[in-house]
């Protein structure tokens, strides 16, 4: 098989999803009501098919020529499964008022007024974008894939709801997203300038040469930092997090669920692919007295920035969450703080750190799916529920939604025996292994702070008496959100028994990654570069404060 054919062979899941997107766009405009109702089902079926294709792949998806050859396999399956949940949350949500009027015979079908087809097509495009991110071999591909994730989401925000808040959120999201894109594109350009290549593996080789020759060039470091900053937008990390509460609040519930999971998945994958070019296993800086100090982990400027970003992200996210009255804004802040926790896994690096990160990503996706599907399974006068007042005493009307909301909050909080506890505990263990004791302590304190607002998700629906607003609650028109809520809630409990298997899958995701150049010309140049440095080897001091088991 030629190289191109081999690449295309890896893309069957993506092709499946894109086919689904085309079908959705077409049948969404059908005059027959049953056809239009089938749109979310088509989306779910194609996602399930994509997951199956990837699951059955004989060589377990390992792809040569990539920095992370096995990443795609895990991510495609994980995002596919989460995508099914997200599609279920959105089923019956788009066009619900218009469809209700058609059903009553008040208006006739007008293809200009329906968005269900487009919505699900963009939904699938975005998920295909996440799948493509992991297959990126060079910066251009990575950039295009990231944009394929983002562009549909701008439209989805504006489509999902026909009110001004949604339009405002869409515009806000678009302009800030464009700014972030410009920033990380600038970073990519600097990386190209520093290494002369767009290919991630070649960049990795050149950076390891630079590193061995006495440190990364400042252009490379700046490029890495700028791309990281741009990706912070996708993962809603400080300082690019400001849009999240407004956009999450403005968008309709299924879109908010989508935003809290899918771009984050893509952003985290892109982040480790970019940082993978410099690796986690040893750099050195030259101190003022000319002594070279070697240390493990990412290059020091990147470590310092990521450390600060992680701490600020979790702290500001959790503090912000306490002050909110809107459920979606609270969940927006919660998703910000979880990005902070995940960055701990990025800092911890290959091995336990990545295992914990990928496990956490999936667990986080499942928890958010559960929370949002519980919210989507109720509506108030045909609108999304949004303030805590709306769900006060929810258990009396919708015990399932109330219970699942409580379970997902417990899991997000990290309460045993839910899945979130084990994800968080493993993340902390990985951070300890990499020597980040301080981060673990800060994250523990943050978990405690987050209890303030997660407790609301337990007490308001389960304990508080029904409010006047809550009297107008009704079950949503589609059964899919309820099914999704039941399944996700059950999985949060049951999957705790399968943590070992899930961690095994997560650890295969980063297998095959080597942080330094191996076996080609770059390796030789690294060797030759190291030879003269051997003369002053006794000057290399290993920093004993970074413990490495």
């Amino acid at each position: 098989m030629t190289a191109m054919a081999q690449r295309i062979d890896q893309l069957w899941p993506e092709l499946m999803v894109l086919t689904g997107a085309v079908i959705c766009a077409l049948i969404g405009l059908s005059r027959q009501r049953s056809m239009r109702a089938a749109v979310p089902i088509v989306a779910m079926v194609t996602l399930a098919a994509a997951v199956l294709i990837e699951w059955m792949r004989p060589n377990s998806g390992s792809e040569s020529g990539l920095l992370f050859p096995s990443l795609g396999h895990y991510v495609k399956i994980a995002i596919g499964i989460l995508g099914i949940g997200l599609a279920a949350i959105g089923a019956g949500h788009m066009d619900r008022k218009f469809e209700a009027q058609i059903a009553l015979g008040r208006v006739s079908f007008d293809p200009l007024r329906v968005v269900r087809g487009e919505y699900h097509a963009f939904f699938l495009f975005s998920i295909a974008g996440v799948m493509l991110v992991c297959g990126a071999s060079d910066l251009i591909w990575l950039f295009l894939a990231l944009e394929l994730v983002s562009l549909p989401t701008y439209i989805m925000v504006a489509l999902g709801r026909s009110n001004r808040a949604a339009q405002e959120a869409g515009i806000k999201y678009f302009f800030l997203g464009a700014l972030a894109t410009a920033i990380f594109l600038y970073g990519f350009a600097l990386l190209y300038g520093a290494t002369g290549s767009l290919d991630l593996i070649v960049i990795r080789d050149w950076l390891s040469v630079q590193s061995a020759l006495g440190g990364l060039s400042s252009m490379a470091v700046l490029g890495l930092l700028l791309s990281t900053l741009g990706i912070c937008f996708k993962i809603t990390a400080v300082p690019m997090h400001f849009y999240a509460p407004d956009v999450y609040e403005g968008a309709s519930t299924p879109v908010t669920a989508f935003l809290s999971i899918v771009p984050k998945f893509a952003g985290m994958c892109a982040l480790i692919m970019l940082l993978g070019t410099v690796g986690w296993n040893g750099h050195s800086i030259t101190a003022s007295d000319g002594v070279r100090i070697a240390y493990s982990g990412l290059p020091q400027p990147v470590t310092a920035v990521l450390w600060m970003v992680a701490v600020l992200t979790m702290t500001l996210g959790n503090l912000g969450g306490i002050l909110q009255k809107s459920i979606k804004r609270t969940l927006a802040y919660s998703s910000i703080s979880h990005s902070g926790y995940m960055l701990i896994g990025v800092l911890a690096g290959p091995g336990a750190g990545f295992d914990a990160l990928f496990f956490y990503l999936f667990a986080y996706g499942l928890m958010n799916c559960a929370a949002f599907s519980a919210l989507a399974s109720v509506e108030r006068r045909g609108n999304d529920v949004d303030s805590f007042d709306d769900i006060s005493g929810l258990r009396a009307k919708q015990p399932l939604a109330a219970g699942v909301l409580a379970i997902s909050a417990g899991s997000l909080l990290g309460l045993p025996p839910f899945l979130g506890f084990f994800a968080k505990a493993y993340l902390f263990m990985a951070a300890l292994e990499a020597g980040h004791v301080g981060l673990v302590v800060i994250a523990c304190v943050n978990s405690a702070i987050s209890a303030f607002y997660y407790l609301r998700f337990v007490l308001v629906p389960l304990v508080a008496p029904p409010s006047a607003r809550a009297d107008e609650l009704a079950a949503s028109n589609s059964a899919f959100p309820r099914i999704a809520a039941a399944v996700c809630g059950a999985l949060l409990l049951l999957l705790s028994a399968f943590v070992t298997q899930m961690l095994g899958a997560a650890s295969r995701a980063s297998s095959g990654y080597t942080p330094v150049a191996v076996g080609d010309s770059a390796q030789d140049s690294v060797q030759s570069a190291r030879a003269p440095a051997g003369g002053d080897a006794n000057q290399v001091v290993v920093d004993s404060s970074t413990r490495h088991p």
């Binding site: 309460l415 084990f422 505990a425 902390f428 263990m429 405690a448 389960l462 650890s507 088991p549």
Partner: protein, 541 residues
């Protein structure tokens, strides 16, 4: 596996309750707790190692999460088995005591109780630190809901305060456990959370400065649950607002999770840190004993009074444990059990009055012995047990704790005795005098004196909830009588329990004698050396 059966029986009951009709919920809950109790009693009768101090079964359980080194190891030693017995003993009585008190959201109520039962047993049975944490932490959820749904007028703030305090503190405990396990991983290359393995590693390998911080974090975690002095403020509120059965379980066994955690984890895991911090902890205990006792004195609300007396009594219990000698620690374990019984029973008694009069304000009630002689008998009995009347259970524990503290002088001529001393014991003993005062004042107001009843009188509530007879009915007597019998038996025959506890205590304290002697030897050396150096200099001129 009998232990797993005793854990799963209440869970099965919880599932059954979810699908059962409303009227059957309480009976299913009763059967579930009784089944769990029966299994635990069979376990206790077959328990081979009452006097060996070892865990049974001693082999580790199946691996749960390989990468994380978490195993499903459960097993009892004599102390944890006694506490598990206490749990399964109190639980059916709580269910029985709730029969007439709970009339709304019945199925949820008994369902949460079953979850609480299972998670408490898991915490006592766990031999794996993470498994212990899972049980310890999950108790918060059902208790939170029990307080927040069926509590008094200020139930939600009380429930939130309860949850936040304990959750925040237990994260420190989790961080400490993870840290020790990580240090062990650095040494051995694999994660493990087996408590025995962690103890054998950390007590000998960790440097003293690290042990100091680990002990501080662990004690900070458990101090909130026990509760010790500056962090006790959630407890009176939670007790005051919780439904009766919730209070009984809170005082009876949930607080014991804190003392048990200190006994099982903090003390043996990092002895070098313990030795350094024990004096601070002891001072906190003494403050708790006296301060809480003084607060009791001015209470008008009977339930709050008993809640503060819990703080005071558990201060005595922890003081005995911190004396770091076998007598004190045996007394502490004995007191954990006896406090659970007598305080739990007092809460039941107060709950019975509350069901009849809808108040627990001691200014509105009085002279109830005229109306309720049977109730008065039990109330006086359990209050006397609580204040330490010789012949009842409370006396043995308090006496041993104080004696352990008294003799625990580090420079005693008879060799190692502990680290506290007569000074601590004398001050702490004042607390017992206060206890006699406030508890007798409570009895004087409630039981004796002229009859006082609230204005609406007996059963006068418009919703007709209180269809109970004036004095206790048979169900209520059946609820209280077993506790009274056990209290009397423990007071007259403490020896079997103390003998059973003693080997476990010795294992827990095994590292301390050498450490204490070394520490005081180090400290006293400069004192010895200094005069020898100075003396010649002084003689010169």
């Amino acid at each position: 596996m009998l232990i797993w059966t005793s854990l799963l029986a209440p869970l099965a009951a919880a599932v059954a309750i979810a699908f059962a009709p409303k009227y059957a919920a309480k009976w299913i809950a009763l059967v579930g707790t009784l089944a769990s109790a029966a299994v635990t009693i069979v376990l206790a009768l077959e328990f081979p190692d009452w006097i060996s101090g070892k865990f049974w079964p001693s082999e580790p359980g199946p691996i749960w999460m390989e990468e994380l080194g978490i195993s499903l190891s459960v097993g009892y030693d004599s102390v944890s088995l006694l506490l598990a017995l206490l749990t399964v003993f109190l639980m059916p009585l709580c269910i029985l005591g709730s029969f007439s008190a709970i009339n709304e959201r019945v199925r949820e109520y008994y369902g949460y109780f079953m979850l609480l039962h299972a998670s408490m047993l898991l915490a006592f049975a766990a031999k794996d630190a993470i498994l212990f944490y899972v049980g310890y932490e999950f108790t918060l959820v059902p208790m939170l809901l029990l307080i927040a749904i069926w509590g008094g007028a200020e139930r939600r703030p009380a429930a939130i305060k309860f949850f936040l305090y304990t959750f925040f503190a237990s994260l420190f405990m989790l961080a400490a456990i993870l840290y020790v396990a990580w240090e062990r991983r650095v040494e051995f290359g694999a994660w493990s959370f087996d408590i025995d393995l962690l103890i054998s590693f950390s007590s000998s390998r960790l440097p003293q400065s690290i042990q100091f911080w680990v002990f501080a974090a662990l004690i900070a975690g458990f101090a909130v649950k026990i509760p010790l002095f500056p962090v006790h403020t959630w407890l009176p509120l939670a007790h005051d607002q919780a439904p009766t059965a919730g209070s009984v379980i809170l005082a009876g066994t949930l607080l014991k999770l804190g003392t048990y955690g200190a006994y099982r984890l903090a003390i043996p895991l990092v002895p070098a840190g313990g030795v350094e911090l024990i004096n601070v902890c002891a001072v906190l205990c003494i403050i708790a004993i006296l301060y809480a006792a003084l607060i009791c004195w001015v209470q008008h609300d009977a339930k709050k009074l008993v809640a503060y007396s819990s703080v005071s009594h558990l201060g005595v219990c922890m003081l005995g444990l911190f004396a770091l000698n076998p007598i004190g620690a045996e007394g502490a374990v004995f007191m954990m059990i006896s406090h659970g019984l007598s305080t739990g029973a007092i809460f039941l008694c107060i709950g019975m009055v509350y069901e009849r009069y809808h108040t627990k304000d001691m200014d509105l009630l009085g002279g109830l012995s005229r109306r309720m002689p049977v109730w008065s008998f039990f109330m006086v009995f359990f209050t006397l047990a609580s204040l330490g009347l010789p012949g009842l259970n409370g006396f043995v524990g308090e006496f041993l704790c104080l004696m352990g503290t008294f003799i625990a002088e580090h420079d005693a001529p008879t060799g190692y005795m502990g680290v506290l001393g007569p000074g601590y014991a004398v001050v702490a003993a004042l607390g017992l005098i206060f206890a006699a005062m406030y508890l007798l004042i409570m009895l004087g107001k409630l039981v004796w004196g002229p009859l006082r009843e609230p204005p609406h009188g007996h059963g006068g509530h418009s919703d007709g909830r209180s269809a109970l007879p004036t004095d206790l009915n048979l169900r209520e007597i059946i609820t209280l009588a077993p506790i009274a019998i056990v209290c009397l038996w423990m007071g007259l025959q403490p020896k079997p329990i103390l003998e059973a506890v003693s080997p476990s205590v010795e294992r827990v304290l095994a590292d301390y004698p050498a450490l204490v002697e070394r520490m005081y030897a180090d400290h006293s050396q400069p004192v010895v050396v200094a005069p020898a150096v100075v003396a010649p200099a002084e003689t010169q001129p």
